[in-house]
């Protein structure tokens, strides 16, 4: 699903140049649940941004679902993001003046799907994350865990190939974190490819594979025994 070869990325700040990714190689197959770990500054967020086409690598190859991702202009990048990727953010990033259902329907709006179908799909995915009764509530009326579940429903709504989660549990307490991870595991069980960036060991062990990043290179990439989140709840 994802193939990455010799990916380099550096940031320039004035005369200083910061080499963040120093040759990343890794593949993700369909249906995998991968966590990317590393201390802050290890380059894990940068890697995720490049995977999410929010940022572009300096050199190297990135192939997503057999489509080489390079030389994107903003318009094509926007289309690819819409078609291929679903984002889950640490701070949820819901639009605060839109109801939960409207938030979920937003990527479908950008996809050009008619309103009726959008509403149906949004309801469907909200039901899937267990928030059917909350569909008309504004984000400010939801708890953190509920917000993140709305965000997950939003990421799922456009039926992407890959879900990218950037510290999905970073702003949640342990119990809620496990609930969210349980949801993510459930989605993965249905065959969706998911990448999770985290620095929490317990969260990482709830995935099936841990990629450890340090100073811009992968120091460890191993499959682990998945810990089911529902055992903790």
């Amino acid at each position: 699903m994802i193939q990455i070869k010799d990916l380099h990325k550096s940031y320039h700040m004035g005369s200083n140049s910061l080499h963040v990714l120093k040759g990343i190689n890794f593949d993700v197959k369909e249906g995998e649940l991968v966590s990317i770990m590393g201390s802050s500054g290890s380059g894990k967020s940068t890697l995720l941004n490049i995977l999410g086409m929010l940022d572009e690598a300096d050199t190297g190859q990135y192939i997503l679902d057999n489509v080489p991702i390079k030389n994107l202009n903003e318009k094509i990048a926007a289309r690819y993001r819409n078609e291929f990727l679903g984002f889950i953010f640490q701070s949820f990033n819901l639009i605060n003046y839109k109801s939960a259902a409207d938030n979920v329907a937003l990527p479908l709006y950008y996809k050009g799907i008619p309103r009726k179908e959008r509403t149906e799909k949004a309801e469907h995915y909200l039901e899937k994350v267990g928030l059917k009764e909350w569909s008309h509530h504004l984000p400010s009326e939801l708890s953190g865990g509920q917000k993140q579940r709305v965000a997950i429903a939003r990421a799922l709504a456009s039926e992407p190939k890959v879900l990218l989660a950037d510290e999905p549990t970073g702003a949640l307490d342990t119990k809620t974190s496990y609930e969210v991870m349980e949801l993510i595991q459930g989605i993965n069980d249905e065959g969706k490819t998911i990448l999770v960036v985290t620095h929490e060991e317990d969260i990482a062990h709830m995935t099936k594979r841990i990629v450890n990043l340090k100073d811009g290179i992968i120091i460890d990439d191993s499959r682990v025994e998945q810990v089911r989140a529902d055992q903790h709840v």
């Binding site: 929010l54 990033n93 639009i95 003046y97 309103r115």
Partner: protein
Amino acid sequence: MFSKDRWGEIIEALNANKIRTLLTAFGVFWGITILVLLLALTNGLRNGVTSGFGNFATNSMFMWTQGTSMPYKGLPKSRRFNYKIDDVAALKSQFPELKYVSPRNQLGGYNGANNVIRGTKTGAFQIYGDYPEFIKQKPMDILQGRFISYSDINAKRKICVIGPDVVKGLYNKDEDIIGSFIKINGVNFMVVGTFKITNSQGDSEEEANTIFVPFTTFGQAFNFGNNVSWMAITANDNTSITDVKESVFSLMRERHTIHPMDERAIGHFDLAKEFGKINGLFSILAIVGYFVGALVLMSGIIGISNIMLIVVKERTKEIGVRRALGATPWTIKSQILQESLILTILSGMVGISFAAFVIWVMNTILDNVGPVENFANPSVSMTVVFTALIILVVSGVLAGLIPANSATKMKPVDALRIE
């Protein structure tokens, strides 16, 4: 571009911060109100001043004779002369661009001696000898009967058309006017019509004390012969009287053996030129109105632009999220543009409506207190309204342009990082 969903998005975004939206809209509302009101006031001033001209056809001049100022062909200087009725025919045949050439004679003057008698009543009125065309140069309402006709001219009938104050001075209430006789300077004339001059200021008393008789009858009855005291000349709509008047004067000089350079022999008043001066003044005033109004409006628009910039800044993260979810830069840009456009147009429409209401109030007050000097009927035409709307649309786009660009300038990854 303007789908139902887009409308929803825009209304949601504008609703998200109602007070700010209202305050922003107020700038444009105020600007357009000032613009429309300024133009309406200019118009009111123009209406007031031009109505002082009476309602005489504006593309006209009056031409009379004065003494010659140069000797010519053995004739002395300071010679008096008179236009003749032939001059009228000559002018009409030589200058097809002249619409009406009305020779006129006058008897009696303002506050003159009594010259009209009916039974035991007398009055001092102005008596004009006129041609039927005159009513087309100076519009008046015929209240009863008719105006002078060409058969009156040809038959030299002793008939007359009288003004409202003549009726008041010579007749009791409920008396039949048409068909009765009045004695002008000892000659009996039958009254065939009464008139009233509407839409006129200043001269109304004089005009109400007027009696019109056929020009030919006038000449014979009051010993004017073929003499013409002065002429009221109106040019066709597509030619200006100011352009043809010099050649008219040349012809008159030639026909009356006057030195071609003698400017003083022929007196005239060019109504078109005077009217043009006033009109020019008001055109300038209208431009000033547009200018000042546009400047006020501009500050409103800058306000919108400013607020949109802040809104964009505040929504940087939201815009980043939208882009992560698949919004193209153009989608974002056009949404910002449309937000500012709708804000501008809506507040502009409210402004125009408010200005219209104020104008209506002004007109109602004017109607109640009666005519005010040099000010009448403040109003704006549909052209002004449409111009204002076009200005609004253009400025709405301009106001949104900078914020829209800044909304997509930041890379989505940076936008998402902002807290």
